[in-house]
Homo-oligomer: 555 residues x 2
């Protein structure tokens, strides 16, 4: 696969980032401060001045953080932590193409990290010109493709336009694209629909295929390596359905893959779009991985708006003052809560049904990036890395798990996401307020309730308070703000990785499960070929587990 | 609202359950044992004998627990914990109608807990006859309603049959019913469809209404109190759509509510079905809350199969030997991992796309039940109560957050759920194995990989192992096994609450947020009525937060 020029020059330089997080002077300072964090339950603790001043703005978003357990001293220490760890400097180096996906002294991916280059296409000169040029070239191919669909130059066997698209992919080729599609389905091109097949569970593909008119459907197969087991299996299942329907797959299938991968094969695909190894799956939404499907569904101008919003947030993330850099500030507040106040999880709670799958995307983006145990020098971590990320949209969650957030024995920091106006504009006054007002009043009320708590004689109705949260709010969920929000969280994750001194860009932790699954599958293949086969000799535990699960019985 | 006879007699008796979890002799024993838990990474630790023997069976499910960090001594101590805390005795008392939803000495709900009575309808004599009789009476009403729909006696204004149903509800009236509908959509009546509106986000209702033929659609409004803000608001929005479409809502709307609630009004609803205050929302799937929708979608016989499966698991949950009681064993293993091995969260990972929303239901069922800070006597807990529950279906999750589960700094216990055969039966051999085999091989491989780990010179490719998991497996996801799985988790949650000595049946923790939301909404209403209105005097923080969020600007 290709790497833009200049990669080698940066390699040497990238190794200069190295620190033990727990030996930074900011660590010592924050440890000390964590003994008496700001008391949000004290009278007047949430003063109007504090609420007004504890706000960071960028790319259409306000980050309100008065309900965090921080004061001026803690914020100064967090600013110090950002500087001491070189967070912004590393971010800028990343955008310029430094080889940050590596573990020094050990075999590792040795790659640049250039998802930001996909949207650094509006300035006269990009920070990573070679990668941005590749992104622009793919965008132009995509624009041509979309025009051909629109103009009726690209049609099915019967001369009809394509109305539907099925995205076949998993992980980064599924979660982020799906989250953005659902977020923006309100602005899609009328008559166009997108569907997703990801799970190797055959029921997943079957359920999607059951409701489709295949003749009018495009299938977008997305796999960087061209060898993802689930995706290839699902592709085969969908191809079989086309053949059974008397349709020619190569007139319906398009590919998003690495140049030169097994899937880069014009005989099998109507079009191929490229992705590059300097963009990891979980950071790939704004590359062709998401762009082809989003362009089909929303139209090219909306796609460009997503990139524009993301680019605006990428620029804001270069700001060294943490109070003017929401992504960095959110990263630091997360570290304060996680490493110093001892909170093990983070709830991300969008008050917008359209963001129903955004938290699932962030689970991948954050936990696959920062669920690590060694430093970038291969040393075992002596501090906690990434938290468990979870959440569901409000107000639904309020009627589900908020009981634990308010009164459980564990403290769960929360990040609320909201918008001042609704997408559809279909609303109603009930008891003198609109639904959108109810939604937002609930969001803010949760932040207040978690912070201030409530004394009460009945111990079961007592709220201890001092449960930290932050509020992210923008005017409306549009392609632009969606792009900005996506980039904000991408940058937040990357900043935390820089500060923890871990490699946020590999995923060696998924390999062992894959390897053992292959071993277990070999037993099935063995049984299928040889009725006397027994895997027991080579793989005692695996064989016994298959037996105990009742999965080696005759079918 | 009504209570079955006998409630009062049980009240006195219920107060005899009281203990400090950390003063039980089993606690001391388990604390000691937790210093050197079973080492799953030792050679031969996962022997075929262990794998075969560490299996509990009930109601079509096998629970495999060889990959937990337990040995015979720990299991004996857990058996002792179950007995010392009276877990099974309390469960039986619950099923018979004891008033277990209470806090002694303080104002509390003072209710029985009788969701099990909804399915205790197959034996000649129920454990709680009055409640089971009420359940049977509602089931008969429902059967009549479904027959009328089927026979064409109940049709729309144009004499056409109803094809669609929209369930309007939130929390327990949404998550569990939705999870079961999605789980069983493969066995639905052809041509019938169900949709859900839950969130007060107006975009949620708008998105559902946009795609519907209202004329052929029933609307099932579900609220026990008949006063849930979100549900009433959404009901109004849907009613408005009917009126605008020239349709008469009372010919389309049905109600599931408490007898005597504001919604119990025949003039506004085609039919009313009753729910009772001895069944909490999060335990209400098998009451009319889920049954009306599931009966419409799947047909009455499938609904009865769900109840039959749940009943079978409820019976198995009365078994005192923890090795023959999967629900109790899972509860105890959870406590071992959470309270003694220090794991703060639990991942529930179904390898079945149909169970895509089951974890969201369990988030509510578990976290709203056990996210508590006081004992049933109102004392502050000196031990951890319920963990954070989260998860997504496999294999999707493998490509997302499993990195952290395998290599993160926090240990995340996992519960895997799988089925030996697929629902749709549409499958394909790729590389000599079916998709269903790939799915299950991946599930078991994850359990093995988490347990055994992998030594490796490259520290970034090292897996520490000793990460506990359990596997729940059944033949196929059917109405019966779905009912059993639901009841298994309900019982698990309840057992943990009994052992922690907390009230798993109230949710006082959601009240403060509601109260503050009402206060913030009053500001909007005030502004709407009086342009000179300022809430600043009465509610300094709330007003300032609305202002900082930019939500008091002129629209």
């Amino acid at each position: 696969m290709e790497q833009p020029a200049g990669a080698r020059d940066q390699r040497q330089a990238s190794s200069c980032f190295s620190h033990d997080f727990n030996k930074l002077s900011a660590w010592t300072q924050l440890e000390e401060l964590a003994r008496s964090p700001y008391d949000l339950t004290a009278p007047g603790a949430l003063s109007p001045v504090r609420i007004r001043d504890y706000r960071a703005q960028a790319a259409g978003f306000d980050l309100l953080y008065s309900t965090q357990r921080v004061d001026e001293t803690v914020l100064a220490a967090l600013q110090g932590l950002a500087e001491e760890s070189g967070a912004v400097a590393q971010f800028r180096r990343m955008k310029k193409g430094a080889v940050l996906n590596r573990i020094e002294g050990y075999a590792s991916e040795e790659r640049q990290v250039l998802h930001t280059a996909c949207r650094d296409i509006f300035a006269p000169v990009s920070l990573a010109p070679a990668a941005s040029d590749q992104a622009k070239a793919e965008l132009e191919k995509l624009a041509d493709f979309l025009v051909a669909l629109e103009a009726g130059n690209l049609v099915n066997e019967a001369g009809e336009p394509f109305t539907d698209l099925v995205q076949v992919g998993i992980g980064g080729s599924d979660l982020g694209p799906r989250a953005l599609y659902l977020a923006l389905v309100a602005c899609k091109i009328p008559g166009r629909r997108v569907h997703f097949i990801s799970n190797v569970d055959p029921d997943d593909a079957a359920a999607v295929l059951n409701g489709l008119d295949l003749a009018k459907t495009l299938v977008n197969v997305v796999s960087k390596s061209g060898s993802t087991l689930e995706t290839l299996t699902n592709e085969e299942m969908v191809r079989k359905a086309y053949v059974e329907a008397g349709l020619e797959p190569s007139r319906h299938f398009i590919a998003v893959t690495g140049k030169g991968s097994p899937m880069d094969n014009p005989a099998r695909y109507l079009r191929s779009f490229y992705m590059f190894d300097y963009i990891g799956g979980r950071y790939s939404v704004t590359s062709m991985v998401g762009a082809v499907m989003l362009g089909f569904a929303l139209g090219y101008p909306h796609l460009i708006e997503i990139l524009r919003g993301a680019n605006a947030m990428d620029l804001a993330a270069e700001e060294p003052d943490i109070r003017r850099n929401p992504a960095l500030l959110l990263a630091l507040l997360g570290i304060w809560n996680h490493n110093f106040l001892g909170c093990q999880t983070l709830a991300i709670l969008p008050y917008s049904q359209a963001l129903s799958r955004f938290t699932a995307h962030l689970q991948q983006c954050d936990m696959e990036s920062n669920g690590k145990s060694v430093t970038r020098q291969g040393k075992a971590l002596a501090w906690e890395s990434g938290p468990v990320i979870w959440g569901e949209p409000g107000t639904n969650g309020q009627h589900a798990f908020y009981q634990l957030i308010h009164q459980g024995t564990a403290i769960v920091p929360a990040e609320f996401i909201g918008f001042r106006t609704s997408q559809h504009g279909r609303d109603l006054l009930v008891e003198q307020t609109t639904s959108q007002e109810k939604l937002l009043a609930n969001l803010l009320a949760q932040a207040l309730a978690l912070a201030t708590g409530q004394p009460e004689d009945n111990p079961n109705r007592r709220f201890a308070g001092n449960r930290p949260s932050a509020v992210l709010i923008a005017d409306r969920l549009t392609p632009y703000t969606m792009g900005a929000l996506l980039a904000l969280y991408e940058a937040k994750v990357v900043f935390q990785g820089f500060i923890w001194n871990i490699n946020s860009f590999d995923q060696e932790g998924v390999q062992l499960g894959k390897k053992l699954a292959t071993r277990l599958l070999a037993h099935y293949a063995g049984l299928r070929q040889d009725s006397g086969y027994s895997g027991a000799v080579a793989d005692v535990s695996g064989w016994a587990l298959l037996e105990a699960a009742g999965m080696l019985l005759p079918k």
